[in-house]
Symmetry: C2
Subunit: 174 residues, 2 copies
């Protein structure tokens, strides 16, 4: 889909295609539709990031809390969004050994207990070993730093989903 096609989408089409570039936050996609036309895909990405950055800290935490645990209950139950399922599977998180799975579950709980939001990482830019290492390390951070770090990861996930949709899948969803 080229940028001209994107710019003439109705808000319903736009949200239908791009509504989950930020996990379970279609409000963000729906909001930036107000900013069209976009000169290119980077401009759309920038509008999303700007919207996120303008949110109060509670709103940024709200975004993080809309994310599932990595290798968590939603993966086991099959209730992940399609995007998350694919991302977690590519990183090998759907095939953890029993000891690894227990360790991840324990660290996820520790992280959530400490910060009040889940560990968010761009799974597609990391492999399993790197994800497990960072989960362990980031549990030691300060809360404000970790909130900012989580939001950075949200933006990376968003970018990959956005480019993926525009460059490959979107025509099929139209």
């Amino acid at each position: 889909m080229d940028i001209n096609a994107l710019n003439v989408l109705s808000y319903e089409e736009f949200v239908n295609i791009f509504g989950n570039v930020v996990e379970k936050c279609p409000i963000i996609t729906a909001a930036v539709w107000s900013k069209r036309p976009f000169v290119n895909l980077s401009a759309l990405e920038a509008a999303i990031n700007e919207f996120i950055d303008a949110l109060p800290e509670s709103g940024k935490e709200g975004i993080l809390r809309c994310h599932p645990d990595l290798a968590g209950r939603d993966l086991q139950r099959g209730t992940l969004t399609q995007e998350s399922r694919e991302e977690q599977a590519r990183a090998g998180l759907d095939a953890l050994e029993s000891a690894e799975a227990s360790r991840v579950a324990r660290l996820n709980e520790e992280y959530k207990e400490r910060f009040g939001f889940p560990f968010v990482i761009c799974a597609r830019m990391n492999d399993k070993a790197s994800i497990l290492r960072q989960l362990s390390e980031r549990c030691q951070n300060e809360r404000a730093a970790e909130r900012a770090r989580g939001i950075e990861e949200v933006k990376k996930i968003c970018r990959l989903r956005l480019y993926g949709l525009v460059l490959t899948d979107a025509p099929n969803k139209l």
Copy 2:
């Protein structure tokens, strides 16, 4: 559920129960969890309203765009959220006569074309005749006024969903 029970919910439980008090905007529920403890239900409602009011105008439009059309495609296809389905059904919008249905469809399109967001009204505080009359009348408003009016309706819907969950259904969802 009393307020003390509400205040000790984890963010996951909180979002699971209250995530759709603003239609398809779990980020709002997830954000206000940061503001607990709440002295009472009004304080929770106020925190939600405050979050909404602090959004940029594009964000308020984003909330409206997350709402389905009244008596629209989602109702016909069975893809409404449970909350919307019940609200639309109570107002009789699931049993329109053919001429009424055509008129509503035409006015919904006219409204969306004019404003770039859907007509939002608290169906539980109106009957079918009143909804159809207001849909027709509100098509004539100015955009800014109509955006503000839509957000007022979002808050009424939110209040009724919130009180409904706390006073009746929530224990079953826990």
